[in-house]
């Protein structure tokens, strides 16, 4: 029988039976990437709002750095985080290498520039007069930035989707700093690599299907909210 067809059948069986190993991998993936995107949003949104709404010397340099960061190769991020967290590295004493925390750090570094970039574009896209209008109605600096975020909230949703999508499907960095330890740092992408190498296609296909489903779900949610808001 065709190995692809066999793999698909087995994959559906694993999903339907809620295979414990599959679930463990899924939970670790979601935990690591969710925490990373929350931290990424907490850092990236204020930075994006600041860069998008203020003019100061060196702003263009910062924007160039952000744009470069948006295309940062994950393996390069993995290498730097590895060197930082390695026993001989500057943060070696923290003993974070090959832990979920190291994976979160790597994913935060990957997601944050994306969140900053998308937020920045959204804030810059707001009418200049709208910003004056908010201030002219008596907004304090905090109230002003909060209103900007609320007016650009669809963009923030895009930032969330782009950031989460990029880290949940990333493999290079998490493999390098997480070590792909079963039950601890094995996530969907690293498991797919491993299972494929071992010729265990059914598990690899099952994980791929879940990953695709997740991507579909995130994008469907984003489109739904977008359509609802703009209707």
């Amino acid at each position: 029988m065709n190995p692809i067809w066999e793999g698909l059948q087995e994959a559906f069986r694993l999903i339907a039976n809620l295979d414990p190993e599959l679930l463990r991998i899924l939970v670790v993936s979601l935990e690591v990437s969710s925490l990373a995107i929350v931290v990424g949003m907490l850092i990236g949104v204020p930075l994006g709002v600041f860069l998008g709404s203020r003019h100061f010397p060196g702003r263009n340099v910062l924007i160039t750095l952000v744009n470069t960061g948006m295309g940062l190769p994950p393996v390069v991020v993995g290498l730097f985080i590895f060197l930082l967290l390695a026993r001989s590295g500057p943060l070696g004493d923290l003993n974070l290498l090959y832990t979920p925390a190291a994976m979160v750090i790597a994913q935060v570094v990957i997601a944050t520039p994306l969140v900053v970039g998308v937020t920045l574009a959204g804030i810059q896209g707001l009418d200049e007069k709208l910003r004056l209008q908010i201030l002219s109605l008596g907004a304090s600096p905090f109230q002003y930035y909060w209103k900007l975020i609320r007016e650009a909230r669809l963009t923030l949703l895009a930032a969330l989707a782009a950031g989460f999508g990029s880290i949940v499907s990333e493999v290079g960095a998490v493999m390098m700093v997480g070590g792909n330890i079963a039950g601890q740092t094995r996530v969907m992408t690293t498991a797919i690599v491993l299972e494929t190498r071992q010729g265990n296609f059914s598990m690899a296909i099952a994980l791929s299907l879940i990953l695709l489903l997740l991507a579909l779900l995130i994008n469907w949610l984003f489109t739904w909210v977008q359509q609802k808001k703009s209707a």
Partner: protein
Amino acid sequence: MSELARLEQVEVQSGRRTILSLDRFCVQEGEIQVVLGPTGAGKSTLLRVLNLLQWPHCGRLFWRNQELHRPAPLRLRRRIAMSFQEPLLFHGSVFANVAYGLHLRGVRGPALEKQVMQTLQRFGIAALAHQSAHKISGGEAQRTALARALVLGPELLLLDEPLASLDQNTKDCLASQLRQILRQSRMTCVWVTHDQEEALSMADRIAVLEQGSLRQVGTPEEVFFAPQNAMVARFVRTENILPGTVEENADGLASVRVQEALLEAITSFVPGARVLVCLRPEDVSLRRDREPGSESTRNRLRCTIEELRLQGATVRVKLDCGFPLLALITRRSAQEMALTVGETVLASFKATAIHCIPNDE
């Protein structure tokens, strides 16, 4: 009337270009001051400075005779509100938009609801309170934007061309509504516009701004009927601006030579002075040669009709009196007189209808 805000020796630059340069600009409490000027005159920049959202490169700002220093305190900024030409409504309902400024000031609950609903009622949009602000018509959106500023009861209301993006009917209706609300509340307002009819109907005082500088400040009558210079005269559509020389002046009644014609005008210019004779087209009367004319009319000129142009209820008559002259008469008068191009008529106007300004050109 006491002074609410004052700018002294203020300059705002954009790059190397000066976009606003004012020796002195003041806003009196309770007045509606219209800032009139063409596009690019610096009107919006002036509003941003008055709103304390843009600090001038040099100059001094005063609020109730107290000098202000950068940065302007929030409590002072909250005494001023501004509304723009575009409604610039936020996401959310009409109610949420109007409530926004009050919310920033910590007003909540029944007090907030009462103030918002009262203001919506004043603007006739209470029924739209819970509709999405992005699903209402242009006129309703502009009313919402104005309500959002007025609900704050600001000590100084700044309006940047608030009616410019509306169709004529909506504009007339909202202008009258707004005039009534502003008069009733005696709210101090600086209203920026390039529309002269709007300026005439709304203003207690008019400031004419051009290329960042004030050209004249005065009552609507002063600005429209006694412009101080050629720029203001042209801008307020004093369409007959004729260069001439004062030949004699006896107790204020002067004879002014305009080409071959000698016009009589009430002016203090001395003989020899080069002046511009300003005469509004509606002050020029036309009659046929043989008809008797008014005795008090000091100026009578024989002219040839060059063009007749219908303009609604009026007709613009372009005349050649040795120099070009425009007259504005009603359509009925034109029909009764059966005016035709090429015929000769007598144009007459009073000495008091002429306003002379120095000819610096």
